[in-house]
Each structure stands twice: as structure tokens, then as C-alpha cells.
Symmetry: C2
Subunit: 417 residues, 2 copies
């Protein structure tokens, strides 16, 4: 006779993406296929905070509509958080929660910081002798998780920024004779230029936008940059720049961190794009426009990549499979088999090799100037933005999900954190 | 025997939109159905500038692929311009051009300023005794053209901003427990809040984003605004604001015009969103994020509204019909018959009633607070964002058009403008 099924706990953590809910669906749907091994799938509200606070949803209470919406709705259906586990009190609480709800499986869906949380939970289980298997489900817009070819969430954001700069580039091209000559779009990425570089996919040759990519890995050289802008405008009449929010000067300072006051006398929040646009209009006397899509780029589910959606579901499903196989303290990683036609599979990699590390973009992804994609970069990025992932529209807008869930009754004393 | 066919001249003017090329297609396809009346359709490069410079494309040389791409590609395929006709020299040149190319029909595709240009050309023809029929084809993101229910280009931008704020709102909602509490998105609109108000369609009730709309028609009241932000955060945990770029203080000053220096010591280019975000984080100590989609919202053809696309094609086709009926100095206006189910037709309205005028948004479109849509506004906006208008994707990105066109040989001396 097989052992009694144990319950599972799933939570979303860190910055959300266009497809993180698809990973939730992957975990839930795979777990529900093994009722002999996995009993209740509990979903923590707001990541690890919901585990501490014991605000838990029973996945079995989700309606078919809600389950379906997980595959087509961006951001975190159950809430996410930015929280690092540090205190003994927190670890004790988690042990109490795992016991109270008979948790045998822990699935944590996030990026580098979340991998650290997942690893800490795994180590906690080992130290306290709990029978608990912790598996990390990767997700990050930044694409900086090591030991995986890419991270779910990145491909969709990449498709969003590349589509946006292609469309806006056509706008600039058509108006340049009498209006804007230089357009600057700012892209997320504090420490690595993955997403900015992926926007470079929109350029089909040396004349189509974007013409200049600015990434954190290459220190910003003001003179060289202005020269390149001027040369591009002279050559084709206009210039489109994509810049990482994490762009730094040679001394390592974030450009967007520079202090300046706004009209109310407050410190102005950063923004590399307005800074660069100001520099260009001032130094080159060219009319500029700038865009900062911010959350639009990571919430843009309507433009999600089909590949990314498949990845997101697959890592969720594989995480469950790995847990059932007893692979503890691992991450469900995406392994690329070949670029074209694109082939991939999911593998388990040790979480200890993942947590708290950032994967930088290879230097050879940008050419000598540092401004343009190389063929190696194109071969890497191209498959990740392929395919459509249609969503339902109601009255012209993405269907609004019904994220009203009931919490299960609490079994522990109130958490005072 | 019917008279010899005359040639037509079409040009795109002012800020481009997601569907202005669809109007070009409407004009070209309708004109080509009347070879007995209309000979060659000439397309001026860069609006009226191409007429002055005699840089003209023969529409008959467009490939089937190029004609098809007009229906699915944003911005101006033939280039646009911002240029007001003022000098006698320019009018003389136009008369010479019309004669040299036997132009009997003039179709100008633009907003308020362009309607002025079209009217000036019509008056020029009358004064000089030319047999030339000028018809205006409306287009403006701003939706501020009078005598038409709406303007092509607006509905698609409205669908873009409403979709974007719905998606980003889900992001903010899911992170608010430990991260961003207030998100501010800036929307185009210098003098009228049409587009900002349309973003309000994303809110299905008083709890869903956006929670606060800020339009130029209502002077910005800092205290009242901060109070509303705070109350919203207290009520539902976060707050999403959509603000017009043209937001003004009670003394009529543009908020974004306020002078402040950036890190390079340059005057920082405007941006209402970063200004408001800075105000909120400073005064309410809440974490903020902000987005400025800028050209992305008017070039976002991938999210174009089906209604808007139909409007854009219809005004182009009707302009040709009106010209053939001898209706001179008119604009092809959209007339709404009923809201739901939406019904409309195209009518000819005198250009003199259109040029150089701005249609403001009705005061009753916002409630007493000035922050929320009324039912009247919803009834007006809702049909304009309905329906999809799919585009072809190649390798995950909107297909890049081949906008290489040959100019016809010049017949006039070089223009030294």
C-alpha cells in the first residue's frame, strides 16, 4: 500500500511577469493528476508572507474559469512579495505551518532572491528532519537566473519591447522630416542588459530601428554615444535608442540615480530615457521623444510569446514531477537543445547553484561598438519571442479575471511577524 | 463622352496613428475603382512638403504586398509632416504642381492643423480658378476634431491605453503588499483629456484600476489629489493613476513644463508621470512606479481597435466618393447613429467648420470628483475600442513593411522653399 498523500504549498514571489500564472496552472494541474501522492494544493497569498500569515487558498476551490484565466492573465493571481527570510522566528513559524497543514511539497515560483528563499526552506526541512521536498519554479523578467537557458517571463517581455520599438520606430521614421529625430525607449534591467538587447531583434539591418542599445554591462560613454546618435541621424534621418534602466557611467554610478529636483522641489525619480533625451536635445539640438513602458513590459500578456508560455507551464509541471521523483532542492531549468528549429526540455538543477547568483549577458552578444546585436545574440534570443499566445478579449479589453478566492480556516495562532 | 480623367494627390499630415495607412488604402482603393474619373493617384512624401518638393509616388507602382501592408502597419508609409502653409511662394508652387500633374482631386489626411492646410488649398483653387476638389480625411490621436463623432487613430490609442492600464493594474495589485503602492501612467493629450478618459474603460467598478484620471480640462489640485490617492490605498491597498501629459495647475501652467535640471545640468524634458510619482512618494511615503508609453500608444497597431480600423478605411473611401460627387472643401466625418449596438455612417461636413478648432471633452464625461468616468462617457467610448484588427507576425514580431517607393520624374524646377 502506498503512503498517505501529502499536501503541497505553492507561492509566487518577486516581480511578477506576463506568464507566472501559467506556471501556477502547471503546478496545480500536474499535482491534481497525482491524487495518490499529492493531496491538497495550497496557494499562499503574497508569496512566503502568506505562508507566515497562514493565508492559504485551496486550489481545489478554484473554478474552471479561474483555472483557465491563470493561463491568460498576467501578474500574480495569488499575490507576490519581496521578502527575504532571515529570522529564527520566521523559520519556526514555517515549520509549524508545514506540520499544521501536512505539507510535503513546497513549490516556490520566483527569481534569484526567491531561489534563496526556496533553498532556505529546503535547508530548514533538512535541519529539522521534516519530510518536505522543495522545488524552485523559475521566473524572472531579467533573465538573470543561472543554470537555465532562459527564465519564464523574459521571452514575453522581450517580445513586448521588440514589438514596441519596431512600431514606435516606424512612427519616428515617418515624422523625422519635420519633427522628432531621436527616440529613446527605456527598458527594465537593473544589472543586466538581456531585455534591452532583446529589443535589438526589431532591427532587421543597419538602417531599421533600434540603432543603439545601451546596457549596464557597458559603461555609458557620453561622447561616443552622442557621436553615434549624430552619425545615425546623418545617415538615415533619425535615430532610435533603447537603454537599460540600469545604465551606468564608468565610475559605476546609475545614471538614473543622479539627483535632481522637480517643480515641487522633490527629488525626481530616476528615468534614464528622459535623461538621455535631455542630453541629446541639449548637445545636438535635435528634437527628441522618450518612452518608459515600465510595468507595461512585464504585464503585457496580450503580447506574450508562445514559447515563453510553453516554458512557464512546463517548469510548473516539471517541478511537480521532480518532487514526486524525490528530487529535492532543485530548480526546474530550461535546457536548450538547438536554436533552429528550436528544441528544448526541462531538467532539474541543484538549487544551491542558482540562489543569489546573477547570470550576466555574454559579452559577445554585442558587437565591438557595444550598441548592436551580434548573430550569436540573435540566435539565442530569436526562439524566445516566437509564437503567439492569444488571450480572450471582452469589449475590446483583456478579460478581467475574477481573483476572488476563499482562504481556508487557520489552524495556527495569529502571526505577529 | 465623359471628360478626361484627372489625377489625384494624397498626403499624410501631422502626428501619425496606428491606422492612418488604412485611410491611405481607403483612398487608393476607392480611387482605383473609378478609372473613368480618376487617373493616377499620386502620394506626396512627408505631407504637403512632398507636394512643394515634388517628391511624388505613383500609387499604381505599389506592389500588392505594399497595398496589403497599408492596412496592418502603423505610422505614415509615405511620411508625414508638421507644416503650416503661409507664404505666397508656397501657394504659387502648389498651383504649378497641380498644373504640371493635372491634379483634380486633393486628399489631405490629418488633424486640425491639416484641416487648415486642406482648406487653404481649397481656397487657393477657388481664387486661382483651378478645377480642383479638396477633401479632408480626418485622423487624430487626440480626438479633438469637431464635427465628427470621433477621429480615426483615437480608438486604437484608446484600446492601447485601456489595455495597458488594465494589465499593469493587475501587476500593481499583486505586488502591493510589499512593493509598489501607486502607479502613474502618462497618456498623450496636450489640451484635451479624451485619451486619458478612455483609459478609464479598464475600470469595471470602483475597486479596479484605474482609480484616478487626471485631465487637462480639470485644473490639478494637489491636496485633493493626494487625499484621493491616500484614501484609495487605504481602501484597496494600492492606487493606479492615469494622467494627461497636458495636465495643468489652476493658473493654467503645464505641470510638465516646470523647469528642473537633470544630472548633466540640462533642462529636463517634461513628464507628468514622474512628477506625480515624485510628489506621491515624497508627500505620502508610498512606493511608486510610473510609465510614459509615448509613441507606443499611437503606433500600437498590434492592439488597434477593429472599429477604428473600419473608420479609417471608410473615411478614405468616402473622401473619394465625396470628391467624385463634387463635394468640395469638406471633411469625411463619422456620424454615430446609436451606441449599442454601435451603428455609424460617413457624412460630408464643411471644412470651414473644422479647421483650427478643438473639440473639448464634454464636462459630463467625468463625475463630480473629476477623477472617474460617468456612464455617458462609457457609452461614448465603449464602441470605439471594440473588435480586434489582427496583424501578420514574422518571427514573433509585427511584419516589417517594405516602404521603398520610387518617385515619379519631376516636372518642375527644384524647390528652394
Amino acid at each position: 500500500m502506498s503512503p498517505k498523500p501529502r499536501n503541497a504549498l505553492y507561492a509566487q514571489s518577486g516581480g511578477v511577469t506576463a506568464v507566472i500564472n501559467a506556471s501556477a496552472w502547471g503546478v496545480i494541474s500536474a499535482a491534481q493528476q497525482h491524487p495518490d501522492r499529492i493531496g491538497t494544493v495550497l496557494l499562499a497569498r503574497n508569496g512566503i508572507l502568506g505562508a507566515l500569515q497562514e493565508t492559504l487558498i485551496d486550489a481545489a476551490t478554484l473554478s474552471p474559469q479561474q483555472l483557465g484565466a491563470l493561463q491568460t492573465t498576467p501578474a500574480g493571481a495569488f499575490g507576490s512579495c519581496r521578502h527575504k527570510l532571515t529570522r529564527t522566528q520566521e523559520f519556526d513559524r514555517l515549520v509549524a505551518l508545514f506540520a499544521a497543514h501536512d505539507i510535503g511539497y513546497f513549490f516556490y515560483n520566483g527569481g534569484g532572491d526567491s531561489a534563496d528563499t526556496c533553498l532556505k526552506v529546503a535547508e530548514l526541512a533538512r535541519q529539522r528532519g521534516l519530510d518536505l521536498t522543495a522545488v524552485h519554479v523559475p521566473k524572472t523578467l531579467d533573465n538573470d537566473l543561472p543554470r537555465t537557458d532562459c527564465s519564464p517571463g523574459f521571452g514575453s517581455a522581450a517580445r513586448y519591447v521588440a514589438t514596441s520599438v519596431r512600431e514606435a520606430g516606424l512612427d519616428v521614421a515617418s515624422m523625422a522630416s519635420t519633427s522628432t529625430r531621436v527616440f529613446v525607449m527605456e527598458v527594465m534591467g537593473r544589472n543586466a542588459g538581456w531585455l534591452t538587447a532583446a529589443a535589438g531583434l526589431a532591427a532587421s539591418d543597419a538602417t531599421t530601428p533600434p540603432h543603439i542599445l545601451l546596457v549596464p554591462e557597458r559603461p555609458f560613454d557620453r561622447g561616443h554615444f552622442l557621436d553615434e546618435v549624430q552619425k545615425t541621424v546623418a545617415r538615415i534621418g533619425y535615430c532610435v535608442v533603447v537603454a537599460s534602466e540600469g545604465l551606468r557611467s564608468a565610475d559605476g554610478k546609475l545614471l538614473a540615480e543622479s539627483e535632481h529636483k522637480d517643480a515641487f522641489g522633490h527629488a525626481q525619480l530616476g528615468g534614464v530615457a528622459p535623461l538621455l533625451a535631455g542630453l541629446i536635445s541639449d548637445q545636438l539640438q535635435l528634437k527628441t521623444h522618450w518612452a518608459v513602458p515600465d510595468y507595461l513590459q512585464r504585464a503585457g500578456r496580450h503580447l506574450a510569446s508562445g514559447t515563453d508560455l510553453q516554458h512557464a507551464i512546463a517548469v510548473g509541471q516539471a517541478a511537480v514531477q521532480f518532487a514526486l521523483e524525490g528530487k529535492a532542492s532543485v530548480m526546474a531549468a530550461i535546457v536548450r537543445e538547438q536554436d533552429a528549429p528550436y528544441r528544448w526540455h526541462i531538467d532539474a538543477v541543484p538549487l544551491a547553484h542558482v540562489a543569489n547568483q546573477e547570470k550576466k549577458m555574454p559579452r559577445e552578444f554585442l558587437d565591438e561598438s557595444g550598441y548592436r546585436l551580434t548573430d550569436a545574440a540573435r540566435a539565442y534570443f530569436a526562439p524566445l519571442i516566437q509564437g503567439e499566445a492569444p488571450i480572450p478579449y471582452v469589449d475590446g479589453l483583456p478579460a478581467l479575471p475574477d481573483w476572488r478566492f476563499d482562504d481556508i480556516p487557520q489552524r495556527l495562532p495569529l502571526w505577529h511577524g
